[in-house]
């Protein structure tokens, strides 16, 4: 177990390092960093200061070393706009909003997906199952921002029930509903499909037949015994989908003016604040890697077969 975790952690560190390499190359090979990092009205002194700060006149490998050293010390460069705070500080101030949004979206899609998936697995080929299948196909093809606009159209414009802008501080829970449903919508179909198929497998297994033969009521068998085992693949899916969740958050936060890191990224790109943009991308990637490792380790802890094979 310890060896497995150690190896997985080492792999994670290597992956994070490769991510920094990728981000570094993307930033350096796509144009003159000095001109995109400075606002258009920058003076000559500003230019010289920036070049000295990041060492843009040094050879590339030295710049990369400086880049890595700054990362290790948690220095992501001062933000050019947000009161010149450090990129990391700006990022951290916006992180809670995104965590609230993604957490709410995931809970929504998990609850709905698991219930719908379990019901269609226990009634295969019924009308419910078929409608669910069609809804899953349609749901997975709808772009996040269209879902968001349609929800605004229905619940804000026509019914007038919910506000079209979000932000837990400003509007409270009422402002959370539409953004969370918009972002969660994407994963309802995926969760439903995976719960349905693993539930069908579990219902067919010997131990479920055993429990049923003992005379346990059908409802208890399904919701207490089968669902517990059928839910395991969801965690794998969660790790795989986490990157997609953050991508969806960028769009959702833009539609609903949600003050999270996705909106921070888009805003900072439009005001050409690249230190902040780079910090957001770096932390988002690291977050995804950490989530993946955690899920893998949790798996190994739950299932000894993974430790030996992996």
């Amino acid at each position: 177990m310890g060896r497995y975790i150690a190896r997985r952690l080492l792999q994670g560190v290597v992956t994070i390092w490769l991510v920094t390499l990728v981000i570094f190359s993307l930033l350096r090979f796509t144009g003159d960093p000095v001109s995109y990092m400075l606002p258009p009205d920058a003076t000559k002194e500003d230019r010289a200061r920036l070049i000295a700060l990041y060492g843009f006149n040094d050879p590339l490998w030295q710049q990369y070393l400086v880049f890595n050293r700054n990362l290790l010390h948690g220095r992501f460069g001062p933000s050019l706009r947000w009161d010149s705070r450090d990129g990391m500080e700006v990022f951290l101030s916006r992180l809670p909003a995104t965590l609230q949004l993604t957490g709410a979206a995931m809970s929504f899609s998990l609850i709905l997906g698991v219930v719908l998936g379990a019901v269609s697995a226990t009634h295969p080929d019924s009308l419910f199952d078929r409608v669910g299948k069609v809804m899953a196909i349609v749901g997975q093809s709808m772009p996040v921002f269209w879902v968001g606009i349609l929800l605004i159209l229905l619940f804000t414009v026509y019914l007038g029930w919910l506000p079209s802008a979000g932000g837990l501080d400003r509007l409270g829970l009422k402002g959370l509903i539409l953004p969370a449903v918009t972002l969660g919508w994407l994963f309802v179909a995926a969760h439903m499909r995976i719960v349905r198929s693993s539930m069908l497998d579990v219902l067919d297994s010997d131990y479920i037949k055993m429990v049923r033969a003992k005379g346990m009521p059908r409802r208890l068998v399904i919701w207490r015994h089968a669902l517990k085992n059928a839910a395991i693949p969801i965690f794998t899916l969660f790790a795989v989908n986490f990157a997609q969740l953050l991508s969806g958050a960028v769009v959702t936060e833009t539609i609903f003016a949600w003050p999270g890191i996705g909106r921070l990224l888009v805003d900072s790109i439009f005001v050409r604040d690249y230190p902040v943009a780079q910090t957001v991308v770096f932390f988002a990637s690291s977050f995804i890697i950490v989530i993946n490792i955690t899920v893998d380790v949790a798996y190994a802890w739950l299932d000894p077969r993974v430790r030996i094979a992996g």
Binding site: L18, I23, F145, S285
Partner: protein
């Protein structure tokens, strides 16, 4: 209500009363069975719109008309209404198909080529090259795709070519992983081993024996990925980082519609519908191709 293929024994029992539910189930099954044909039709329609946009579109897509702003859909003049500048929505959507179809297919071409190249390199060379390439694939897989795309497009400057390149260069990982495992499986198979024993060169092995066997997988993955590329282009355009205005992209149309969502429902509904249908068509066609190519799944 005769059922052609009963799935469970209980359905073999004669149904005395074909209730509303049975009718609905049968109807839905027919729709599901026709889905591949419908999606092929819609894909063809989208490609035709892209190719023949000037002759299909009733108006110029960027022609503004101050007298006719925000007109609702009507059969007489503007079938899908007009936007805040009096531009015809239908014409803009027909032209928008050009961007979506071009980005969809070209981005998939770029990512498919890159992914296959990386897969074959790591499958053939093995050793540290394989380890490095697979770690690189992991690293790219953990990038928050849309965030990186937004960042890079803004650095390169928004344009059609840059959008295609960025989507292509950020989405090759699926191909690399799937094709690599196919290549590894194939190199262990008897006909490839025999060909190697018979003295075939690596190039011949690749071109004559391995490649023909991965074409199907490539085609299925590619079709499925068209939808993802279309959504990404629309997202970038929605955020204002896609194809520059006034070129009509479906994503841009949706972004512009946000301001008028309280007065004009037709602005967001139709372009979004077009994106959804195109993505759904590519997904369903991909699923159908996968079932066709794989005899073991054909019965499902």
């Amino acid at each position: 209500m005769a059922r052609s293929e009963p799935h469970t024994p209980e359905l073999l029992l004669p149904r005395l009363r074909p209730g509303l539910w049975t009718v609905a189930v049968t109807w839905m099954r027919m729709v599901m069975r026709g889905a591949p044909i419908l999606s092929l039709c819609f894909l063809t329609l989208a490609i035709l719109c892209a190719l023949l946009a000037p002759s299909i579109a009733p108006y110029e897509p960027i022609e503004t008309n101050r007298a006719k702003t925000l007109l609702p859909p009507s059969l007489s003049e503007h079938p899908l209404g007009t936007d805040h500048l009096g531009r015809d929505i239908l014409s803009r959507m027909v032209y928008g198909a050009r961007i979506s179809v071009t980005v969809g297919f070209l981005a998939v071409f770029v990512s498919g080529t890159l992914g296959t190249l990386i897969a074959v390199l790591s499958g053939v060379l093995r050793g540290w090259v394989e380890t490095l390439l697979m770690r690189l694939t992991d690293a790219f897989l953990s990038l928050p795709f849309l965030m990186v795309a937004v960042l890079v497009v803004s650095l390169l400057g928004p344009s059609l070519v840059n959008v295609i390149l960025v989507i292509g260069l950020l989405r090759w990982m699926t191909y690399a992983r799937t094709i690599r495992s196919e290549v590894l499986r194939l190199t262990e198979m008897d006909f490839v081993r025999l060909a190697r024993v018979a003295g075939a060169s690596w190039r011949r092995l690749m071109v004559r024996h391995i490649f023909p066997n991965i074409v199907n997988t490539l085609l299925v993955l590619g079709t499925l990925e068209v939808g993802a590329a279309v959504i990404t282009e629309a997202s970038l355009s929605f955020l204002g980082l896609g194809v520059p205005r006034p070129l009509p992209s479906w994503g841009t149309m949706l972004a512009e519609s946000q301001t008028y969502v309280f007065t004009a429902w037709w602005l967001p509904v139709f372009p979004g519908l077009a994106i959804t249908l195109l993505v759904m068509s590519s997904n369903l066609t991909g699923d159908w191709l996968r079932d066709r190519f794989d005899p073991t799944r054909r019965q499902l």
